[in-house]
């Protein structure tokens, strides 16, 4: 019975191919947008969380304002310096401070060059280890560098591949950084954090020498004594820095003190707000799509008056006519939804692979949520039925003799 109505509805949609497709466009744009953006958003969120997973909850990151999302140190007008370092170190609740330089350097090997980030390793063994721990750094080959390892470097996983310098870089080989030769002491294990995979580790003095840097730091990591008090300590550091820099009440901070969770939260907030906007737009598209279906069904009822009259004459009850028309408009939504899901999944895979190849690393993975797909399809079917409700009721209530006149 019901499958007969589905077949009838499907036949009718096929007969008016062009109109059916045009009607469904609204639905599949909406559904495709929802599915692709939610899938990508989830993938992005996972990627972001993985980036920050290496950071522990007892460390604060202090940077100068202006460094923002760009490479630290690249845009800041005023760098952090040893005074700042001391100030932070002496703040109540701070157990240890690890200053870090993070700069773009030129790598040369096998007559090829590549630009990447280099970061500094401190002379103090304890601090060096903490620095390694903070980034969850482990070697795959060779060893990490410590005090006395001047002239040696450790390379991230992505830098040693044959594809980078047309020749694999191995432990013991010599590589040029900013024109100076360094021996490769170790190669890092692949990390979930893509910055770590492309990093060069040098001793603090070496990095300062090759880049001719004086008393400055790009960021300072402060480890707190009590993780529970991390927010209070952050406030104290802020207060100290503001006082030290003579900032008035109306002046904005020219630095930032971030807890790792805040950093994750900030990115997640951005992703969420983008998601909300996009889902909002998609919903509008779905509403427009629904109106399109309603419009098509109205036209259909007017065009097929005689058909409705005939069906009633050969024994169709009002409820039969209602079901036939409702199923037809539901099908418009359903088919639109299925195509929308396919387009959406395709789009998100396309966008993810484009982003990954642009970044040169598989960082964004598409997470296709089965529940999302099922509910998207079901939702579009319901939109179709809802949009077709009034036209279908109208069709079912036509008097047979009037309908037959066409």
């Amino acid at each position: 019975m019901i499958q007969d109505y589905f077949r009838l509805g499907f036949n009718n949609l096929r007969r008016r191919k062009l109109r059916s497709w045009l009607t469904m466009i609204g639905i599949f744009i909406g559904i495709a947008a929802v599915v692709s953006l939610i899938s990508l958003g989830q993938g992005l969120q996972t990627a972001v969380t993985a980036q920050f997973a290496t950071l522990s909850t007892d460390k604060l990151t202090i940077q100068n304002a202006g460094t923002g999302m760009g490479p630290p140190g690249s845009t800041a007008v005023e760098k952090l310096n040893d005074d700042d370092l001391k100030l932070i170190e002496n703040t109540v609740g701070v157990e240890l401070v690890i200053p870090r330089l993070l700069r773009m350097v030129k790598l040369e090997y096998n007559n090829a060059a590549k630009f990447t980030f280099a970061t500094s390793v401190l002379e103090d063994k304890e601090k060096a280890d903490l620095g390694y721990d903070a980034l969850a750094i482990k070697t795959k080959e060779g060893r990490l560098i410590y005090s006395g390892d001047s002239g040696k470097v450790v390379l991230g996983q992505d830098l040693v591949k044959k594809s980078v310098f047309d020749k694999e870089v191995k432990v013991g080989k010599t590589i040029k950084i900013q024109g100076q030769e360094f021996e490769v002491a170790g190669i890092l294990k692949k990390s979930g954090n893509f910055q770590v995979n492309g990093i060069v580790l040098l001793m603090e003095e070496d990095l300062k020498n090759i880049l001719e840097i004086g008393d400055e730091w790009d960021l300072i990591v402060a480890q707190v004594e009590e993780p529970k008090e991390i927010k209070e300590v952050a406030e104290k550091i802020k207060r100290n820095l503001r006082r030290d820099r003579d900032l008035g009440e109306d002046d904005d901070d020219d630095f930032s003190v971030e807890t790792p969770l805040e950093a994750v939260g900030a990115v997640t907030d951005i992703i969420n707000s983008v998601n909300i906007v996009v889902v909002g737009i998609a919903l509008i598209s779905l509403i427009v799509g629904g109106i399109g279906i309603a419009n098509t069904m109205y036209t259909s009822v007017i065009e097929r008056k005689k058909e409705i009259g005939t069906m009633k004459a050969i024994g169709a009850k009002n409820s039969d006519v209602l079901s036939i028309f409702l199923i037809e408009s539901g099908l418009l939504g359903l088919v639109g939804g299925i195509i929308g899901v396919l387009i959406g999944v395709g789009l998100s895979f396309g966008a993810a692979s484009a982003a990954n190849s642009a970044l040169g690393i598989r960082i964004i993975s598409v997470e296709v949520n089965f529940l999302l797909i099922i509910s998207a399809i079901l939702f579009s079917f319901l939109i179709g039925i809802f949009a077709g409700l009034i036209p279908s009721v109208q069709a079912s209530k036509l008097r047979p003799v009037d309908a037959l006149r066409g």
């Binding site: 005689k306 058909e307 005939t310 169709a316 008097r399 003799v401 037959l404």
Partner: protein, 236 residues
């Protein structure tokens, strides 16, 4: 013509002082105005009259497609004027088979599917209705056109599909409204003879036409003029 043997003593349709009035602006149009007709099972009756005489309105009333302004219509001893729309739909589906001037086939359905449609509304199981539809299409000589859509069929073929559809639920009464109106003389004659054959098989047939040649296939002819029956003549 061969003399037909018929039982004429059991009535199937009775119109008792039936009237259908319309309001057209300030004027009241009396399309059907006090008609009394009794039709027995197996009768082949033609209703003739010029256009506007009320013959189609009368047929719509008998076919439960419309409701009379006054009077009673009995179909198989049930007063259909007192029934609800869903019961009327059941009666139309089971007891009456319609044949229209413009065939009224569903354009998206094949000949076979068109014939099965009335059985879908009566919840006949799939295998049964397909078998029945094939049998009926074979009967009207269209067993080679089962999967054709209406627009692939000639006018005569379409009307034969429509006749097969009218027979789908084995109704007692066939109501045909100008069934030959859109056909040439030859095809019209074929369709008319098909009604004779159905009449021979015991179906009650009411044929509305303005064409006296077609009407002469019937056993009795009612002439309608201005909504009233003018006279009744038997076919001799």
């Amino acid at each position: 013509m061969v003399e037909r043997k018929k039982k004429t003593n059991n009535e199937i349709i009775r119109l008792k002082n039936v009237a259908k009035w319309y309001k057209a602006g300030d004027e009241i149009v009396k399309a059907v105005d006090g008609v009394d007709i009794v039709i027995n099972k197996g009768d082949f009756v033609a209703i003739v009259g010029p256009s506007g005489s009320g013959k189609s309105t009368a047929m719509n009333l008998v076919g439960a497609l419309d409701i009379a302004t006054k009077g009673d219509i009995f179909l198989d001893n049930i007063n259909i004027e007192k029934l609800h729309e869903s019961d009327l739909a059941q009666i139309r589906g089971r007891k009456i088979g319609f044949v229209f001037q413009t065939f009224n086939l569903i354009p998206t359905l094949t000949a076979l599917e068109n014939v099965t449609l009335p059985m879908i509304f009566q919840r006949v199981p799939y295998e049964e209705r397909v078998a029945r539809a094939k049998e009926l299409l074979t009967k009207v000589g269209l067993d080679h056109r089962l999967t054709h859509l209406p627009n692939m069929l000639s006018g005569g073929e379409r009307q034969r599909v429509a006749v097969a559809r009218a027979l789908a639920n084995d109704p007692e009464v066939i109501l045909a409204d100008e069934p030959t109106g859109n056909l040439d003389t030859k095809r019209g004659e074929e369709v008319a003879q098909m009604f004779n054959k159905l009449s021979d098989e015991g179906k009650t047939i009411i044929l509305v036409t303005h064409d006296m040649y077609v009407a002469k296939h019937a056993d009795r002819i009612y002439k309608l003029k201005d909504g009233k029956i003018e006279n009744k003549s038997g076919r001799k």
